[in-house]
Symmetry: C2
């Protein structure tokens, strides 16, 4: 099933900002970001667990992490001018939803990509924040390859 009919208006005028400032995409992307991060974190925690115990966890990625990832990827141009941290985080979520809708990355691809970038001890909050920011920065740079140039 193609989801193109859900993106008709965006594809009629496809720009970095038409994707990155879409509120509906951001809402759907919020779900994709938290789901893929939860599973990636579960995988990394399980891989690093000393007694080889399976660990399954839910995790919300904070707006600050997402906003910083967008800045570090030099992709603030996808957000609106004078965007605050909340707007920047929404832009990350919209871009992740878009890349999934156009089928350039599956949920499994995104999880795999995050797992590859996540390191350090994720049970220590400050290390997790640093690691998650880098992971989403790397994901954004990958996503950018499939996005319009302006």
């Amino acid at each position: 099933m193609s989801y193109d009919f859900l993106l008709k208006d965006i594809h009629n005028n496809l720009t970095q900002k038409s994707i990155g400032t879409d509120k509906g995409l951001a809402k759907i992307g919020d779900g994709i970001v938290n789901l893929t991060y939860s599973i990636a974190k579960s995988i990394v925690l399980t891989q690093n667990s000393k007694n080889n115990k399976s660990i399954r966890t839910g995790a919300k990625v904070s707006k600050t992490i997402l906003a910083n990832a967008l800045k570090e990827a030099n992709m603030k141009g996808f957000s609106r001018t004078r965007a605050d941290a909340h707007d920047l985080a929404d832009t990350v979520e919209a871009l992740v939803a878009y890349i999934w809708f156009i089928r350039k990355m599956t949920i499994e691809d995104i999880i795999h990509f995050l797992v590859e970038s996540l390191d350090g001890n994720l049970t220590i909050r400050s290390e997790e924040i640093k690691s998650a920011t880098i992971a989403f920065k790397n994901l954004l740079i990958e996503i950018k390859k499939h996005l319009p140039k302006s």
Copy 2:
């Protein structure tokens, strides 16, 4: 990539309750349920929109809807004894996560399944509740085919 190593403890003692009462699976399943329902709802709203407008929306599925779906599917046996509505909803989320982890249904399969069952006018809250309950009931009956018999 196989996710089996994330389910080792559950597979060591695989029962309806070991899946349905797992708190970690429920957390991950919460994300899958809300994501797939958001996209299914977006698809149905777009298909039914009069001016052919694309509609993208986020949506949270209430605990009541999920609890009632489990009851109507006659699958309370997957939850703990004397479960309240919150426990029953957690069980639905755990079962959805499990079926995805063991790769019997993809995210796209779940979305497609929900779309097939969703009808009525989803912009009217009472109709949405009725329709979503039936959709998750049908999804649960499908999932059950792949679950242990006791």
